[in-house]
Amino acid sequence: MAEQATHGSHQHDDVGHHVPLWLLAAVLLVLLVLTFITVGSVWWIDLGHTGNLLMAMIIATIKGTLVALYFMHLRYDKPIIAIILIAALFFVALFTIVALIDTGQYQPDITDYRAVDPDARSAPLLQLQQ
C-alpha cells in the first residue's frame, strides 16, 4: 500500500489523467448496446428465472466496471482507489450473503407460523407436525 509519489515537481503540472474523448464515446456506445441487450433479453432469451437474473447481473456488472474504469478514471488512478471500491463491494456482498443464508435457514419457522389459522389457535392445534 505504500505508494511513495516520487516525481519531479514542476510548475503547473496537469493533475489527473486525460481519458481521450473518443474512448469515452466508445464506452457510452458499449453501455447503450448492453442496455439494449438486457432489455431485449426479456423477450428473446429465457434461461429460467435464476438464469435471467444471473445474466442481468453479469451485464450490469460489465456496465458497472466500464463506467468505473473509464468514466471514473479508475484505470489510471493509484491502486488504493481500486482497493477502496473493491473493499466496499466486498462488505456489501458479505452482509447480503450472510443475511440471505440466515433468513434462508429460518424461513420454515415463518412459513409454519403463517400456515396456522389464527382462529384455530384456541383449540389444541397440532398442525405443526415436525
Binding site: S9, G16, V19, L31, A68, A88, V92, L100
Partner: protein
C-alpha cells in the same frame, strides 16, 4: 505519500493560488481530494447495500411476489429503459465535461454541464410519471397497497387522484422521516384510492396481531386462483425505498452540477485548477452505477 520537494526548496517556492496551505504540491492535493471522494462514495455504495440486501432477502424467499409484480406489468419497462439511457448519456456528458475542463475548453465545459443537467432532470420527470401512475393505480407500500384495474373506467377521479399524487409523491420523496408527515401517514396511502372505500380495507394492526403477517392479495383486480399472491406490498415497499433514495441522490447530484455550472460560467475552472469537476463527476457516476443495478433488479424480473 511524502512530498518530493525537500524542505529548503519548498520555502523558496511561490505558492500556487489554489494550493491549500497544508498541502505541498498540487498533485498531492488532487490525489487527496480524489481519494477522499472515493471513500465517501464507498459509504454511498454501502448505504445502498442495506436496500440491496433487503431486496435480495425478500426476493430469495418470496419470489412469487416479484414475478407477480412483473406479470401484472406494475412497472413499465419502457420508462425504465428510457431512464437508464438518460443516465448513461448523462454519465458520458459529465465525463466529457471533465475532459473539456482539463483541456481548457471552457465553452464546451458549460455545454456539457447543461446537457448533464437536462438529462438528469429528464430522469426525474420520468420518475414523476412512473410515481403518479403507481399512486393513481393504488400500488403503494404497506397498507396503501390496493391495486385497481389500470387505466380504463377511472377517468372521473383522475383529477383528485392527481392531487393525491402530489401529496404521495412528496411523501414518497421525503419518506426519510420528515416528521411533518408524521401525523397522518396511513391517510396518504388510504385516500389515494378513493374508489377502494367499499372494498374490505385490511386494517393494519400493530405487532403480530395482523393475520399471521399476511396482507390480502389485490382484491380489486380479478386474479386467478394460483395468482392470489399475498404480501405484494413488500415489492412496492422495496421499490419506493430504492428508487426514492436513488431519486434523492439524483436531486443532490443535480444541485452539485448546477453549482459547477455557475462556477464554470464565472470561468473558475482552468486547465491548472478544475478539481471540483471530476469530484462531482465521480459522485454522478456512482449515482448512475446504482441505477445500472436497480433497473434490471426491479424492472426486468422475467
Amino acid at each position: 505519500m511524502s512530498t518530493a520537494t525537500d524542505a529548503e526548496s519548498h520555502a523558496v517556492h511561490e505558492h500556487p493560488p489554489h494550493l491549500a496551505h497544508h498541502f505541498d504540491t498540487e498533485e498531492q492535493q488532487f490525489e487527496a481530494d480524489v481519494q477522499g471522494m472515493w471513500l465517501f462514495l464507498a459509504t454511498e455504495i454501502l448505504l445502498f447495500a442495506g436496500l440491496f440486501c433487503a431486496y435480495a432477502v425478500y426476493r430469495a424467499h418470496h419470489p412469487e411476489i416479484f414475478y407477480h409484480a412483473y406479470k401484472q406489468h406494475y412497472l413499465s419497462v419502457f420508462w425504465g429503459s428510457v431512464n437508464t439511457a438518460l443516465l448513461l448519456v448523462s454519465s458520458f456528458t459529465i465525463a466529457a465535461a471533465v475532459w473539456c475542463a482539463q483541456h481548457n475548453y471552457q465553452k464546451w465545459l458549460v455545454w456539457m454541464l447543461v446537457a448533464t443537467l437536462a438529462l438528469g432532470s429528464g430522469f426525474l420527470v420520468v420518475k414523476y410519471i412512473e410515481y403518479s401512475h403507481k399512486i393513481h393505480s393504488g400500488l403503494l407500500w404497506g397498507t396503501g397497497f390496493n391495486p385497481q384495474k389500470h387505466g380504463h373506467g377511472h377517468d372521473d377521479e383522475h383529477n383528485d387522484a392527481h392531487d393525491e399524487a402530489h401529496a404521495a409523491t412528496a411523501h414518497a420523496d421525503e419518506h426519510e422521516g420528515d416528521d411533518a408527515l408524521h401525523d397522518e401517514p396511513a391517510d396518504a396511502g388510504a385516500s389515494a384510492d378513493t374508489s377502494a372505500e367499499d372494498q374490505l380495507q385490511w386494517v393494519y394492526e400493530p405487532g403480530g396481531t395482523g393475520p399471521r403477517g399476511l396482507l390480502e392479495p389485490g382484491s380489486a383486480i380479478e386474479l386467478s386462483e394460483d395468482e392470489q399472491v399475498r404480501n405484494v406490498q413488500t415489492f412496492f415497499g422495496i421499490y419506493f425505498l430504492m428508487t426514492g433514495l436513488h431519486g434523492l441522490h439524483v436531486i443532490a447530484g443535480l444541485l452539485a452540477i448546477t453549482w459547477l455550472l455557475v462556477k464554470a460560467l464565472k470561468g473558475h475552472f482552468t486547465a491548472a485548477y478544475f478539481t471540483p469537476v471530476p469530484i462531482v463527476g465521480l459522485y454522478w457516476h456512482v449515482v448512475d452505477l446504482v441505477w445500472i443495478y436497480l433497473f434490471p433488479l426491479l424492472y426486468l424480473i422475467h
